[in-house]
Symmetry: C2
Subunit: 500 residues, 2 copies
C-alpha cells in the first residue's frame, strides 16, 4: 500500500496511539477465525488491516509510543505481522487475560500510559478498520488532541452514507464550536443513539446532523479514567485495585486475576454516552469498519459487473457479488448480490443481505466443537508457518515452512513419532545428540521421546513434509527445552494456545 512517509514535525509529544486488537473474528468467517481475526487479514491492498492501521498511526507518533491492546491468544500473530516495528513495540503490548469489552481494556492501557507519562493523550483506534486519506486523518487527530488536552473525550464522526442499523449515531451540538481549524470543527455531543431501527436510521441520514460513531477516540489517559470513575464506579474500583497491584510490583498473574473480576462494559455505552465531556469532530476521511462480507463493496475494487473477485475464480455472468477463492477452483454462474468465500477447510455461500448471520454459523461450529471456527489449516509462527494437509486416525500430515535463520524450539513429544522429508531448501536437524543437514529429497525419522529441533541454516525458505504417527497428535504434546522466541513452558500465558 503506497503511503507517504510519516511526518516528523508537528507531532503532539504526549500522544500515544493505542491499537485495539482483540477482535473475535466471527463476521469474516471463514477467512477469519477465532485465533485469526479480521485485523490479521489482507482484505484489500497488500497489507493486513492491522499493518495498515500501524502504518497510519506512526504518522501521529513514533512507533515506540504505539500501544497494542490485545489478548495472549492473538499477541504472537500480531507480533509476527508487525515485525517491521518489532523492537519499537517490544514492551508495548497490553494483554487482557480475558475479554471484558472495551472499557476495561482501555482502562488497563490508560493505567500503563499514566505510569509512563502522566500527561499521556490516547489515540484509540480499532485494528481492523479501513481509513483512506492520511492527511485528513492527521488533521482530525491534531484537532482532537487539542480538544483532549482541554479535557474532552473526543470521537470522530463519520458522515453516514446509508441507513445502517448496526452503528451508533452521534448528534453534535453545532451551535457550539469548541475548536476550529480550517474546515474542521469540534463540537460538544448533544445526543448518542446506539443501533437505531431502520426507520430512525433513515431519518438520521436524511436529517444530515447525525454522524456515525467511528469507534476511534482521543482523550487524556487521566480524563478517561476519571470519567470511568464517575460513570462506572464499580469498574473503577477494580481498576484502582489493579493500579495498586501494579504500584506494589505484583505478579502478572495477580493482576490478571483481578482483571477477570471486572464486569464487561463498552466504552461507548458505559462512558461516552453518559459523559458531559463528550465531543465530536466530524471528519472527511473515508472510513469503513468492514463489518461483514457484505460491506466489502464500500472499499474493495470491483469489476465492471460490480463483483469483488479474488483467487482462482471462473465466473459466468455474476453481478454485484463477492467471490473469494484461494488455490482451489471456484466456479460461479449467474450470481446476483451473493457472497462466496472458499478456504482450504470451509466454504461460505450466502446473499450479501444475510452476511451478518455468518456469526450464527460460527456459533454453531463452536457448539459442535468443529475446529473450523478456531483456526486455519495454516498457522503462523515466529519461525515460519505450518499447514495441515490431512489429519486422520493416528496420523497427521503437515507442510512446515521455516524462514532463513529460523528454528523451532528444541522439543520432544511423548506420544508421537515424526518423519521429515525435505522438499525445498536445507534442513538442519537435531535428533538426540546428533546434528546433521538434510537436502531436498532426504529424510529422517524422529522417534517418540527423542529431543529434536528443525532449523533453516540456509538463505532460502525451507519446506519439509512432516508425517506424524501416534495415538495422540494434539499440539500440546510438546516438551520445550529451548526456544528462540521466548516461548517456554513456564511463560505466563493466560489462555492455553497450541504452540510448536
Amino acid at each position: 500500500m503506497p503511503s507517504p512517509k510519516p511526518r516528523t514535525s508537528n507531532l503532539e509529544p504526549h500522544l500515544y496511539p493505542v491499537i485495539m486488537a482483540g477482535g473475535s473474528g466471527t463476521r469474516f468467517w471463514p477467512l477469519s477465525r477465532h485465533l485469526f481475526p479480521k485485523q490479521l487479514l489482507r482484505i484489500i491492498g497488500d497489507e493486513t488491516l492491522i499493518q495498515q492501521t500501524m502504518r497510519r498511526v506512526v504518522h501521529e507518533a513514533p512507533a515506540e509510543r504505539v500501544m497494542i491492546s490485545t489478548n495472549p491468544a492473538q499477541a504472537e500473530s500480531i507480533r509476527i505481522q508487525l515485525g517491521e516495528w518489532k523492537d519499537a513495540l517490544k514492551d508495548n503490548f497490553v494483554l487482557e487475560p480475558e475479554g471484558r469489552n472495551t472499557a476495561p481494556a482501555i482502562a488497563l492501557v490508560a493505567l500503563e500510559l499514566i505510569r509512563r507519562d502522566p500527561e499521556a493523550v490516547m489515540l484509540v483506534v480499532p485494528a481492523d478498520h479501513i481509513v483512506k486519506g492520511q492527511q485528513d486523518f492527521n488533521a482530525a487527530v491534531e484537532l482532537a488532541s487539542r480538544l483532549a488536552m482541554e479535557g474532552y473525550l473526543v470521537t470522530f464522526g463519520i458522515k453516514p452514507i446509508r441507513p445502517e442499523t448496526g452503528y451508533g449515531y452521534i448528534r453534535p451540538n453545532k451551535k457550539m464550536t469548541i475548536l476550529k481549524e480550517g474546515k474542521l470543527k469540534g463540537h460538544p455531543v448533544s445526543r448518542f443513539v446506539e443501533k437505531p431501527n431502520a426507520a430512525k436510521a433513515a431519518q438520521y441520514v436524511k436529517a444530515k446532523d447525525f454522524y456515525w460513531n467511528s469507534g476511534m477516540f482521543v482523550w487524556r489517559a487521566a480524563t478517561v479514567l476519571e470519567e470511568i470513575g464517575r460513570h462506572q464506579p464499580k469498574l473503577s474500583q477494580g481498576i484502582e485495585r489493579i493500579r495498586e497491584l501494579m504500584r506494589a510490583g505484583a505478579s502478572r498473574s495477580a493482576i490478571d486475576e483481578e482483571y477477570r473480576t471486572l464486569t464487561p462494559v463498552s466504552i461507548d455505552t458505559g462512558v461516552m454516552e453518559k459523559s458531559s465531556k463528550a465531543a465530536v469532530v466530524p471528519v472527511c476521511f473515508q472510513w469503513s469498519d468492514v463489518g461483514s462480507w457484505g460491506s466489502l463493496d464500500e472499499v474493495a475494487p470491483k469489476d465492471k459487473a460490480g463483483n469483488v473477485v479474488g483467487g482462482r475464480v471462473v465466473d459466468l455472468g455474476s453481478q454485484r457479488s463477492i467471490v473469494y477463492g484461494d488455490r482451489r477452483v471456484v466456479a460461479t454462474i449467474g450470481l446476483m448480490d451473493m457472497v462466496v468465500v472458499d478456504t482450504p477447510d470451509a466454504t461460505l455461500v450466502c446473499p450479501k443481505s444475510r452476511a451478518q448471520d455468518v456469526k450464527r454459523i460460527v456459533e454453531i461450529l463452536k457448539q459442535q466443537g468443529a475446529p473450523e471456527h478456531l483456526e486455519h489449516l495454516t498457522v503462523h509462527r515466529p519461525w515460519g508457518s505450518y499447514t495441515v494437509l490431512e489429519e486422520g486416525d493416528g496420523y497427521k500430515v503437515k507442510r512446515v515452512t521455516v524462514k532463513p535463520g529460523g528454528r523451532l524450539s528444541l522439543q520432544m513429544h511423548h506420544r508421537r513419532s515424526e518423519h521429515w522429508v525435505v522438499i525445498t531448501g536445507t534442513a538442519r536437524v537435531t535428533r538426540g545428540d546428533e546434528v546433521f543437514d538434510l537436502q531436498v529429497g532426504q529424510s529422517t525419522a524422529i522417534p517418540v521421546e527423542t529431543r529434536h529441533r528443525l532449523e533453516n541454516p540456509g538463505r532460502d525458505m525451507l519446506h519439509i513434509i512432516e508425517v506424524q504417527n501416534g495415538p495422540y497428535l494434539g499440539e500440546d504434546d510438546i516438551v520445550r527445552f529451548q526456544d528462540d522466541y521466548g516461548r517456554g513452558a513456564e511463560a505466563p500465558r493466560s489462555l492455553k494456545v497450541p504452540k510448536c
Copy 2:
C-alpha cells in the same frame, strides 16, 4: 439400495443388456470429471449409477450376457465399480477407441453380439439414468423384447412431467396397437420431435399424447444393423469393414483405426427418427436422466424446506437448494433455488436454473489446461486408490490406499524419488533386491531408478503417505515390470491414461 433378487424364470434367452457407459461427465462437474463421469457417482442411494444400472439389468438376463460399451479411459474405473460381477463381465467390455456418438458405439456392440448369437436382442440402457420400479421395468422389457423379435426398434416412452426442452419427444400412433400385455401397449411411432422450444414443449405436455424419449432401446442386433444400413449407408460401410476385419481376426489396433474414420451420429436422430420400424412402449416406471444438478430434485430425498443436502453442511434457512459437501464445512445461509457443490479441489455455486451452464465452465477449465476438469484428487485403481494431498514445485504428497491382498505393479521411476510412511496397516515393500515389511510409523526411501513395489499382505487396509521429490512428477514417468491387473507397457490402450 434394497432390491429384489433377480428373476431366474421367464427370461428371454436371447436378451443381452447393453450398458452405454461412455459419458463425458461435464454436467455434474465438479463431482464428475472427464475421467470420472456421472455414471461412477453415488448420486442417490448407496450405489453408483452404473452399479444401480447393472443391478437393474441382471433382472433381465444373467450377468454373463451384460455388455458394457465404454472407452479405454473409463473401462478400469467401471471394472472396479462392477467388481461384484468381475468374472461374468470379463470379456464383455466393448471399447470405443474414440467417441463417435451412439450409433457407431451401438453398431460395434451389435457386431460383437451377432458373432456370439445371431438371434441376439439388445436392451440398450444408459449407465447413468435412474429408474424406480423394477417390476414395471421388467414388464416393459418383456413386451419390448417381443416387439423387437417382430422386427421393431423399440423405445420406452416416459410420461412428461414438465415442458423440458432438452429431450426428444415421441408421439405414438395410438390408433394402432402392435402388442398388448395388461396395461402395457406397444405402438408404432407417428412422430419424433428432438429438443422442441419451450412453447412446443408446453403444448406437448398439455396434449398428453407425447412421451419423452428415454434413450433406452430394445431391438434385434440384426435389425439395428439393417436400419443403420438403410438410413446411414456411409456409417454402415465403415461398420461392414470392421465386421470383415473381425472375421479376418485383425488386430485390435487395425479395428480401432477403422473405427476412428466413422462419422459421429446419434442413434436417435440418425436411425430412430428415420426408421419405419420405430415403436414405442409408454411405461409407468419412474425415470430420470439426472441431466444436471438442477434435476436432482426429481429423484433425491429432500428435507422439509425442499433442500437436497449431503456432507458437512451447516445451513440457516435455505430453501429448495442443492448443497453437496464432502469433508470440508459448507456453510449456507438463506439460499433459494441454488446449487452449491463442494469437492476437495473445486467448488460450484449457481442458481438451479443455470445448472446446464456448468458444461461451459468445464470447457473453460479445459481450455486453461486446468486439471480440475480431467480427474479428481482421488483416483481409483484396481489395487485401491490414491489421493493427492498437495502438489508443488518439485514435490507431490499422496495418501495411497492398498486393499488387503492388493499390490501395485513392480515399477521404477527415472526422475523421482519417493518416501513412504505407513499410517495404517502393514506394507510389504520391494526395493531393489530387498523385500521387507513396514508397520505403522515406519518408513522407507525409494531412490530414483530403483525397482520397487508396494503391497498389502495384511487383512486390513493399508494407508501410506508418499512424498515424491523430483524435477518431473507426472504419472507417466513409470517403467512397469510386472502388474497383477494386466496393465503392462505393451497393453493396447487407445487413450493415454495415467496409471500407477
